[in-house]
Amino acid sequence: MTTKLRNVAVVGFAQLPVVARDEHRMATEMLYPVVREALAQVGVERDAIDYQVSASTDYMDGRPFGFVAALDVMGSWPPRQDLHLEMDGAFAAYYAWLKIQTGEVDTAMVATHGKVSEGEPDRVFNLQLEPYYHAAIGLDPTSTSALQASAFMARTGTTDADLARVAARSRAAGTRNPDAQLREAASAESLQRTPFKVRPLRDGYLPPIGETATCLVLAAEGKAETLCDRPAWIHGTHHISELQTIGARDLTRSASARLAAEKALAMAGLASAREVDLVELLATNPVEEFILLDALGLEARSGGGSGPAINPSGGPLCAHPIMSTGSIRLGEAFRQLAGRAGERQVAKAARAIAHGAQGHCLQQNVVFVLGTERRWS
């Protein structure tokens, strides 16, 4: 690394508790309070934030330019330096970090919204697929995930019971997260009795689809300390995409997550992901978790054992507000490192990995390595 990097930290994070459907608020009404809360956390008004990035997708909003309305509730007056990414918020956070690296801005706000209950995600995300052959046969995120799960289980001998144990561990963790949508524990045995949605994925192994809004605040060294008593410093980050074409990928592994993790860990100066205390993964089913852990060089675990805690928030299996799920992973890593994770606090958490993903079968992955200490002197 020849480039001298700036120390940049997550200094604030706000979200609404994830719900299946917020009957009484539209997307911007949901976003406004979290923008206000994030600013209140860092103790400044909007004028003190140099840059803003919003993240959402028009198709989930059910209309073109859904993000334009977000400008108003993000405090975009007077005019702000701004960008909108048609991506999960974790990728927007990566870009905010990159923008701060230029030295032109010191602080940035990353907001996500998505009124998922107004659409049918499986039908909407069918439309992400290559339109000539794949979308036309009716594949959706659940069925492509099921293809991936089948391939993975066939290669590795992973069983239905293994999937159930991971789901049960997530559900147990979710009971400690007041922002989670599913907050009731479920035993592996009971989850293994739930019907198949698409074989080999059972209802109990799939995320509840919900909605929320989130707002992250990032700041460079010099500002970060004034905005937060315990900033979560970004030690390394990278993101990688791979081909969508399902038939052209080894679905049992995530080459893009592996490369993103390698680059992020190298930037962080860590030899291994085992050196962190917790990982928050955007795994929308247990097999994705196995694949991501493998990409990170971590052992799969259903509970206990040594090594970093996996999704202490309960992860996407307890709350999956599409477009915000990755932002929440980064927000959860921040809460853990800042000692704000309440009942789910991992003791003495000093380093964390936050992962975001989007696209069918983990097509695009972003990895952040964070720590309580500054990375560069």
């Binding site: 028009d58 073109p64 975009s76 702000r80 960008l83 992400q128 995409s241």
Partner: protein
């Protein structure tokens, strides 16, 4: 910019109403291949890909960059997708420049496209907003009142819009990639049907299929050649809220602030004299006069007078949209990047038949939303 960043390759497709010779990946690839060839680079040289396009409803594919990763050469690379409404092509190229400016990326491919023949733009651009009666009139219906407000505010005579449209078409005749090139007179424009008063049929941008790709690179790469680069002297994207009481929709504050930011970075003190040509986003004729004011080329109320004098014609004081601009070529998502790419070609001296003489600085500009999003850069012949 603190770290010099330059455009080292430009590629665009032949734009048209219906590029039925290509699928979407094929169309995108035509631009990408040309940009790489132009820069003397291979896919392996590219560190990241930044993609932009306007609403996904235009083609009916959600986040289409995901299925286009192969066509973009983005496999096992960082790929980001930008969407800032009409300004997206410009904000996408600027996002690529930020990658290089950060020092973390040396060569970034940035691509914008739209294949409007695969969908229905009027439907895709008619948002249904909560608590707002649906207009279902597309972008023209939305922006016509802005033009009407400009006319009322400045007492501009009604032939100004048609003059702008006819001039754009004349310019497009010198651009081998343009979609609409058939010559037309001011009279032809004035005799064309009124679509959304005061905008007539021939004062309206077309729906086009097209793509554009740029290679943005660091100083070392730019100095290596093979071609003279276009140095990005200043670049920014700004946005403003919609529902601000008293917001000036005719000359939005975000446009002024963005232009000031970019001019300051680029050392432009007086844009009218320091900039030799401008590619600005004019989807409906009147916006050319409006943006001449908003961008500081003309004082308030003076933009239409510059048009009336012909100052913005090819070969005159400040040729505006020598490529023919959005009025002649409008693959929406790509339209902003085409402005920035055309500005780059002008300072590189490689704009072909529509090359303006002695261009030291050129402006590329785009806007979007309800005239809320602004993205622009000034490129220079020297770093």
């Amino acid at each position: 910019m603190s770290r010099p960043v330059a455009v080292v390759g430009v590629g665009q497709t032949k734009h048209g109403a219906r590029r039925s010779d290509h699928s979407i990946p094929g169309l995108v690839r035509e631009a990408v291949d040309r940009a790489l060839l132009d820069a003397g680079l291979e896919h392996a040289d590219i560190d990241a890909v930044v993609v932009g396009k306007a609403p996904d409803m235009l083609e009916g594919i959600a986040q289409p960059e995901q299925f286009l990763v192969g066509a973009l050469g983005g496999h096992m690379k960082p790929v980001l997708r930008v969407h800032t409404a009409g300004s997206v092509g410009a904000s996408t190229a600027i996002t690529a420049a930020v990658h290089v400016q950060s020092g973390l990326y040396d060569r970034v491919l940035t691509v914008a496209f739209e294949k409007q023949s695969e969908g229905n733009a009027m439907w895709a651009l008619s948002p249904s907003m909560p608590f707002t009666p649906p207009l279902v009139a597309g972008a023209g219906g939305f922006f016509a009142p802005y033009c009407r407000a400009y006319i009322r505010k400045t007492a501009a005579p009604m032939h100004i819009g048609p003059m702008i449209a006819a001039n754009a078409r004349e310019n497009a005749g010198r651009n081998e990639y343009a979609h609409l090139t058939e010559p037309m007179t001011v009279e032809d424009v004035m005799n064309s049907p009124m679509l959304w008063d005061p905008i007539r049929y021939l004062e309206t941008c077309p729906s086009s299929d097209g793509a554009v790709a740029l290679i943005v690179a660091n100083e070392a790469q730019a100095r290596k050649g093979p071609r003279k680069p276009a140095w990005i002297k200043g670049a920014a994207s700004y946005a403003e809220a919609m529902w601000v009481p008293g917001r000036d929709q005719v000359s939005p504050r975000a446009g002024k602030v963005c232009a000031r930011h970019v001019y300051d970075k680029a050392g432009i003190r007086n844009p009218w004299t320091d900039i030799q040509t401008a590619e600005i986003y004019v989807p409906f004729s009147w916006f050319e006069a409006m943006w001449l004011e908003n961008l500081g080329f003309c004082a308030e109320g003076e933009g239409w007078k510059a048009v009336d004098r012909g100052d913005q014609k090819f070969g005159r004081h400040l040729p505006v949209n020598p490529s023919g601009g959005v009025l002649c070529t409008n693959p929406i998502g790509a339209s902003g990047m085409l402005r920035l790419g055309e500005a780059a070609l002008q300072v590189m001296g490689r704009a072909g038949a529509h090359q303006v003489e002695n261009v030291r600085h050129a402006l590329g500009h785009a806007y979007g939303g309800g005239a809320q999003y602004f993205a622009m850069w000034v490129v220079g012949a020297e770093p």
